[in-house]
Symmetry: C2
Subunit: 440 residues, 2 copies
């Protein structure tokens, strides 16, 4: 059985090391600010008892890690992400910073992991640490750079797993650090001659025109969220546009407040993408539809759990940005809902559900707009005794490119739409959106 | 200045509540296993002093949360992800489980956040909690379901932020829970008549053919990693194929071990995608190239930090899977490297770098293969005193669809390639890869 033997924090040896180090981000570093952590895992065949591991190996790994961190203090530090994004992020090490280290043992089969054959990807994560939680201060978030886990496969071997933020350095930098740690551990001395000493001089990177790092940072931080209200009168006008459009067939489409509002946002977004020069291609809309009332037999509304499934619409960008763009968008979404719920034939509303994961995984998500929430939701009803909320935000739309949708705060026939977009695209969208409604 | 006033854990009131609850995942739930957490934020205009907040509001929020969790215990529980993926994941609540709750205060401008105008997306995260870390046991990982943060904007208002795993339920379920909490808080009583009581009966969801949840789970867990060795002799043969191919022009391409190996893997992967019925379209290859030696002046190899940038190759799937697929792939990658480093003209190797983030964000990543590592890296050199590693794994390629590349363990002229793919695709790839090398 798996077992944590020890959790500890290892700080750089102070003897001769830096007491603090601030590294600004170059444009090469700026690239990696948002990337998932990098995880590397080394398996060593080394038959070793638990006693030997605890009494000899762990102390040696700790002392050698402390010595190697002396030369590589950023790995013990944090990535500092400023709250005020007029400031630039940086990497910071201060005396007292340390690396989270876990020592564990497992009864898993060592030989399974060291083969070249296909092995379940999931099974490796137990040998890798998670980065410690981000710490939120008023001026900044501190995001830990590195965590380490060393696991004993009793009598067989040892794994060394490292999880690090990519912003600290690329594979060349990280592998050099790992080798430095390994060498000091192997030779049992603080021998800086065993490895390349790292070079921290940021001035060596010439930033073309001197502002590429700032430009990259601007790109990163310029995602903004905004809320758009569509009033009841405008929703009625949008419905009229559809009913009067030449291709409209009321027996094969689903015309609703939801479809016209989604269609309107989808077409405005496509127009905004075109206006800022995003490349042409197909655009996707994915309705996250509530199936509770659609199942046979229907579920009660208080069923606890997930009961939403996708309806897919696809269109070329060209069609969505044309004069008929809104009608086409709304009708495609209406058709998708109609086919899913009202004309589903054999298999009912779950027809094709076995392929949903594949369909979703094969989508180009950079060109897809999904929905979060529903026009039926009155989130403004959540009153803790302080009156109705002044504002609701579906913050996680940042991560998945969805539009949030709910009843508006001030009139429950109006709808509130939330979007999170790059600043430039949002500016264009806001104009396209309001101009389009004004011209109805 | 921002300030944490209290961190605590709130458990469901035990009075009349369940002592434990296990919910199997339906196929509707299975969909959300891998999704990022959902984050919702409510802003209330409620001029309230810090004293009032601490003495009145916090105790009331705590007791009402405990009462509402009694009816919604899964929100206090964990998502249980089994280590042995022959078992199914489930949601589990046991007596003793609780929700992590943070109370904080801020001096930020309340009015900035409650507007509809475009506001910096980043600025909202300080009002939202992170989920507590996953706990790794031998049999499973426990992933917390919910965390709450309530923030006082002194004299102005209060925000209530919730971060939850989507696997517990959709917006309908979560909003019902939030409203239940709000109602109990507002009316100060344990009044279950105030909201829909949740219904936990999983049998209400009829799984078509009775195995859709299992099928979705199989899809999720069937990602596998595998290692492929390309021996020196085969690398030479691959180079020969290129030199003898009709389109080859040695003055405008970069023929190297790296380009032929990447080209070979890229074409094999395209063939594997075609073989399992992935839709046709463009395929992308992104070299993460080390710029240290290429900058003017060059950086020393021990420069600490990131110094890698992209070289982009693009091809239609059709070309990569044809008879000349490998040559085309290798030459496209060679051309991209040649243009980047050897024929870069004005602006040098950083020409166009201002557009790199846009290019990378607009890629269809489901069709892109990147590189992690380098044939120059001898990761097997990392010896802690236990001999060279028996095996190295670049685990984070799971997350970004890269191929890892390094010197092989047993012969440093051979190369080791790591891939992480769905099981079905990996099986096909392994055959395509070895058949192709055999036929050289």
């Amino acid at each position: 059985m798996d077992n944590v033997l020890e959790r500890c924090r290892i700080a750089p040896s102070l003897d001769g090391g830096a007491s603090e180090l601030f590294l600004p981000l170059t444009f090469f570093d700026m690239f990696w600010v948002e990337l998932h952590p990098v995880q590397r895992l080394f398996f060593y065949e080394f038959p070793c008892s638990k006693t030997h591991f605890i009494e000899k190996i762990i102390p040696k790994l700790k002392s050698s890690l402390a010595l190697s961190l002396k030369y590589f203090p950023p790995f013990a530090g944090n990535f500092v992400y400023p709250s005020n994004t007029s400031n630039l992020p940086q990497i910071q090490y201060k005396t007292g910073d340390s690396v989270s280290v876990t020592f564990a043992e497992t009864n898993d089969d060592f030989n399974y992991f060291i083969g070249n054959q296909a092995r379940e990807a999931d099974k490796f994560y137990k040998f890798l640490p998670q980065l410690p939680p981000t710490i939120q201060f008023s001026e900044s978030r501190l995001i830990p750079i590195l965590a380490v886990q060393v696991t004993l496969f009793s009598g067989c071997g040892i794994s060394v797993g490292l999880t690090n933020h990519h912003v600290v350095g690329d594979a060349s930098t990280t592998v050099n650090f790992i080798k430095a740690w390994a060498s000091i551990c192997k030779f049992g001395v603080d021998a800086q001659t065993l490895f390349y000493l790292p070079l921290y001089d940021r001035c060596l990177i010439k930033d073309p025109n001197g502002k590429l790092a700032q430009k990259y940072w601007n790109e990163l931080r310029r995602k903004v969220r905004a809320t758009f209200i569509i009033e009841e009168a405008k929703i009625k006008q949008l419905k009229n546009v559809i009913v009067q459009s030449k291709g409209y067939n009321n027996s094969s489409s689903h015309l609703s407040t939801f479809t016209v509002v989604c269609g309107y946002v989808w077409s405005c977004l496509a127009k905004s993408g075109a206006a800022i020069g995003e490349k042409d291609g197909d655009e996707y809309f994915i309705v996250a539809a509530d199936f509770r009332a659609r199942l046979d037999p229907p579920l009660p509304p208080n069923y606890f759990g997930n009961c939403i499934g996708p309806c897919f619409a696809i269109s070329s960008r060209a069609k969505l940005i044309g004069h008929e763009g809104f009608s086409i968008a709304a009708e495609l979404i209406g058709d998708a809902i109609y086919k899913r719920f009202f004309n589903c034939g054999e298999g009912g509303v779950l027809r094709g559900a076995e392929d949903w994961p594949t369909q979703i995984n094969s989508l180009d998500w950079s060109r897809a707009l999904g929905t979060a929430g529903s026009p039926r939701f009155d989130v403004y009803d959540a009153d803790f005794g302080w009156g109705k909320p002044k504002k609701f935000e579906s913050v996680s739309i940042d991560a998945d490119g969805s539009m949030s949708i709910c009843k508006s705060r001030d009139c429950d026939k109006d709808l509130e739409i939330g979007l999170s977009l790059p600043k430039m695209k949002m500016d264009v969208f806001a104009n396209v959106f309001s101009d389009g409604l004004d011209s109805l």
